[in-house]
């Protein structure tokens, strides 16, 4: 594993490979041949470039916002595989399936290879000159747009791209950077901020002896799943921690729990307050909260709580007992608890338990403060899109730049963003592959893939200290007609403010200058060039920093009279969307590996499905594979039924991310888009869309189709000793050999 120590850009320029791109190993040639193929031949490669030997380059994964350090294995100029970068504190040398599939973003057969411009109804390919001319005419030096007239819509974005976007908007006297995340953590972050004083505390999972999680899928689609998984692995080593999960639909984390409880969706807060009430019976916790809260909590006796939440009353006292017994512990709230009209209150109530149990500083910490706040990511929200939608509807927006966001696909029906887009005179999208939103734009510019571009990233979740993640090209660009986002933004900025940016011939120069300028912060004595080379070689610039202290605001927790969830006669079922760790909000549905990677719990691939509890299914005479219509107040979708025991019986669940209509061959026509049946329910505190508050009715269509899954006709072991379970008190984990150490 030799890492590069040269100027990456020069390396790619002088490599001059022939023959490599044309050969497809193993395919076709099955006999001794002479003169049929070309030899890999170089002009002037660096010494470490040896044909037949793979070289690893460090970079940063951009598949989600976790900012994992990765290494790309490059051979004969081709990027072959991604691995975790051991130097990255976040990934620790590991990588998830989603990260692996990053190469398929790069090699995707449906990638956009030339700029496209709208001609009437369709997009037609145009040259870069033409495209840039159109772009600069609208957004260049002559542009008269200002303020709210221009908007930039992105997904979660950090690093110098975020900086350049901000600078570009600034040149228009605008701050209209709309960050939209269909699966936004806004509610939870707001609750954290209110209760603990920070938006995103650092979870010390490995230090906890007991974790009580209310629908927090930290092993699946959490904020930093690879890091959390490593923490989880340590948590499971001696002394082994216990995980209790309470949620309406079993997540991947729930599937790994020692004890899993089904709860009526939206009642997690009630349960948490019930626990709080129970805990306050213990002397040592009695003074953790103010007297009036303690008084109010008395309404949450275990029978009331049990009746409201649907969880057995004994469970409440049992969990409370365990929380009391096993310290330090950690109580987590997750999207399933937060995505309700009173989601903020739920999350706050759950966080209150941490205050009572005094987990602050033990298993919960604040993040170290980042030396470059301008590089840290902005958390996306759906509220941002709603506001943009209002501006667009009002006709205020004259130009819209869309980067890494697909609101046409993810916006719920009551945010008719797709229809309103036509009211914007100039819409430009920067994409690697055409998606539903890009297809509605006037100009689409093809970007370099993350494997071809430079960049810097800052993760939203910084487990220890702070990291500045460096992204560098892992191979030469595949398509000459693609450009990096940074380069395009820099070009526009040069148009707007020629003087300020003339020192930077391109984005590479900009980023190199910017990073080397930050050298003093990292307290190194090496030269600028060495510093930059080290940064590239390691893929990460790390800075240790003390964790920020957490505050205590128990008063932020609203303790009302216990409210049960109102049932709806027209829509009797709770609808719980499930977020797949690899498809997320659907942006990765174009990657074949992820489509074929079975959903861990149902083993279904390439599809959407409706999870329904077997007893409910039996009552309704639904068999697996029956096609059901799931109808909410705003829309309906049809999918195959899958009988799933890990779900609250009055709840049905469907995965998000499928149902694309214009996102390439691997995504189109697979499953249905469940974003389109969300009810317009918003969190009362933050105004954020409540994703878990939709109610639906289920109708049988009478049709039937086989569920495409890996599982066979039985999900039982049939007496075979396949997976064996041992009671924790029997296992002598401490005596085992493990590379994972505390």
């Amino acid at each position: 594993m030799s890492n590069s120590n040269i100027d990456r850009r020069d390396f790619l320029r002088v490599l001059g490979i022939s023959g490599a791109a044309a050969t497809l190993a193993g395919c076709g040639n099955t006999s001794i041949e002479s003169g049929a193929e070309l030899v890999e031949s170089y002009v002037q490669p660096e010494d470490f470039v040896v044909p037949g030997v793979g070289v690893f380059y460090a970079s940063t994964c951009t598949q989600c916002g976790s900012g994992c350090g990765i290494m790309g294995r490059v051979r004969e100029g081709r990027l072959l595989k991604l691995e975790g970068n051991p130097k990255s504190g976040i990934s620790g040398g590991k990588i998830c399936g989603l990260g692996q599939a990053g190469v398929q973003v790069h090699y995707n057969p449906d990638r956009l290879t030339t700029p496209m411009m709208r001609e009437g109804e369709t997009l037609k390919p145009v040259s870069w000159d033409k495209a840039m001319a159109v772009l600069t005419a609208r957004l260049g030096s002559s542009s008269a747009l200002s303020g709210d007239q221009i908007a930039v819509l992105t997904g979660e974005i950090s690093g110098h791209q975020k900086v350049l976007l901000g600078l570009l908007l600034e040149s228009f006297n605008s701050t209209n950077h709309v960050v939209y995340d269909a699966l936004s953590p806004t509610i939870g972050r707001a609750a954290c901020k209110a209760v603990l004083g920070v938006e995103q505390p650092v979870l010390q999972i490995d230090k906890a002896r007991l974790i009580l999680s209310f629908g927090n899928d930290f092993l699946g689609a959490g904020p930093s799943p690879v890091h959390m998984a490593a923490q989880y692995a340590r948590f499971r080593k001696a002394p082994r921690g216990t995980l209790i999960q309470i949620e309406p639909r079993m997540t991947l984390t729930g599937a790994n729990a020692d004890r899993w409880y089904a709860i009526i969706p939206g009642t997690e807060g009630v349960f948490a307050l019930g626990l709080a009430h129970s805990l306050l019976q213990h002397q040592e916790y009695a003074h953790a909260v103010s007297a009036d809260i303690a008084e109010a909590l008395k309404q949450y006796d275990k029978d009331t709580v049990s009746e409201i939440t649907g969880v057995h009353a004994d469970a409440l006292s049992h969990i409370a007992g365990m929380l009391w017994e096993r310290s330090p512990n950690l109580v987590l709230s997750g999207p399933a608890a937060e995505g309700h009209a009173h989601g903020f209150d739920n999350a706050a109530a759950i966080l209150l338990l941490n205050l009572i149990l005094d987990n602050r500083g033990k298993t919960l910490q604040g993040q170290a403060s980042h030396p470059f706040p301008q590089l840290t990511p902005i958390t996306g929200s759906t509220g941002a899109l709603t506001r943009l939608n209002q501006a667009v509807t009002a006709g205020k927006c004259q130009a819209l730049v869309v980067i890494g966001s697909n609101p046409v696909f993810t916006a719920p029906t009551f945010v008719p963003f797709a229809n309103n887009l036509s009211k914007v005179p100039f819409k430009v999208a920067f994409v690697t592959q055409l998606d539903e939103t890009a297809r509605q734009c006037d100009l689409v510019l093809p970007l370099l893939s993350p494997m071809e571009d430079f960049g810097t990233h800052v993760a939203g979740y910084q487990p220890a200290g702070v990291d500045l993640m460096i992204q560098q090209p892992l191979m030469e660009r595949l398509y000459p007609e693609t450009r990096g986002l940074g380069d395009i933004l820099l070009d526009l900025l040069k148009q707007r403010k020629p003087d300020a940016y003339k020192a930077f011939p391109d984005y590479y120069a900009y980023i190199k200058t910017a990073v080397t300028k930050a050298k003093p912060v990292f307290r190194t004595t090496s030269s600028d060039d060495n510093f930059w080379e080290d940064a590239l070689r390691n893929g990460v610039l790390h800075l240790d920093g003390p964790p920020a202290a957490l505050e205590t605001h128990a008063a932020a927790v609203k303790v009302d009279k216990p409210r049960s969830v109102v049932t709806d006669v027209h829509y009797p079922f709770y609808f719980v969307p499930s977020v797949k760790a690899d498809l997320r909000d659907g942006r990765h549905a174009n990657l074949p590996w992820l489509q074929e990677s079975p959903d861990p719990l149902t083993t279904i691939v390439w599809d959407s499905w409706v999870e329904i509890h077997p007893t409910t299914a039996a009552e309704m005479q639904i068999r697996e594979g029956d096609i059901l219509e799931v109808q909410s107040a705003t829309g309906s979708v049809m999918a195959k039924a899958y009988l799933f025991p890990g779900i609250q019986p009055d709840t049905v669940s469907m995965p998000l991310g499928q149902g694309h209509t214009a996102y390439g061959r691997y995504a189109d026509g697979m499953g249905v888009n469940t974003f389109k049946i969300f009810d317009p329910v918003f969190d009362e505190h933050t105004g954020e869309l409540a994703l878990y508050a939709t109610r639906v009715i289920i109708k049988k269509t009478g049709e039937h189709a086989n569920v495409v899954k890996d599982e066979g006709p039985t999900a039982l072991q049939q007496g075979r000793k396949l997976v064996v379970t041992m009671a924790a008190d029997q296992a002598q984990l401490a005596k085992e050999i493990s590379r994972v150490t505390q």
Binding site: L24, G84, Q100, A229, Y232, A255, W260, G646
Partner: protein, 281 residues
Amino acid sequence: MSLSNLIKNWSSLRVKRPYEDQYKDKDYKWAMVIDLDACTGCNACTTACYAENNLPVVGREAFSKGQAMHWIRIERYWGEGEEMKGRFPDRGAQFLPMLCQQCESAPCEVVCPVGATHHTPDGLNSQVYNRCIGSRYCSANCPYKVRYFNWWQYPERAWPNPLELQLNPDVTVRSKGVMEKCTFCVQRLTEAKGRARTEGRRVADGEVVTACAQACPTSAITFGNLADDKSQVARTWERQQIKLASDRQEKDENLRGYRILEDLRTYPSIVYMERVRDSEA
């Protein structure tokens, strides 16, 4: 000189395997430990395997017919007996990464008519694609059903340009009619062994791991050299009292290690560590 070889080495040609200390004086015996308590079922290993070993994405149609090509698959069981009596799977799901067990006495090896699958000196159960004629007898005889057959001409359909550029040049792209299976990433092993040999040493522990082990976010998969006493895998086997050449382990009750379907006398090279659940919770 086969005839003279026959006469000269008759007794060694008549040795049955596995036997105790078979690999004691050998350089390598690759083996694995999978900790089911650490495995979260996240499928990272599966995708890593697709990337490393040029596995074709078969598509929905073929997948629905049971023609998937995942060399390592994550199985999800819902428990047995008492656990299934309740309304919910109270103890979570049971995930099992199932891949070729690299049996020491592999049922598949015996039955292949052309000897496309055999046992390597490193204790791997090999599959030579270009020798395979596709009788599928090995798959029929595999108790674990971890052998995957190329039902279609995947090189023509699974990697539309430019996806083919991702293909690992160290691994053959299998055409139709060929059986394939987990190789313990033999291309990595061969490379590491060659490098070590040139440097006149044995491959160090952790120097080479399979793609699944490398990716696994919880490090549930440990890969290593059983012939090297100091390797983590060898020490774990030792500590778990698992003997390679035994079909019924006599071990302490509170040890978690076991091998799957061991009573069939396949002598697998993968030890699974029992999943642990806190019965108090």
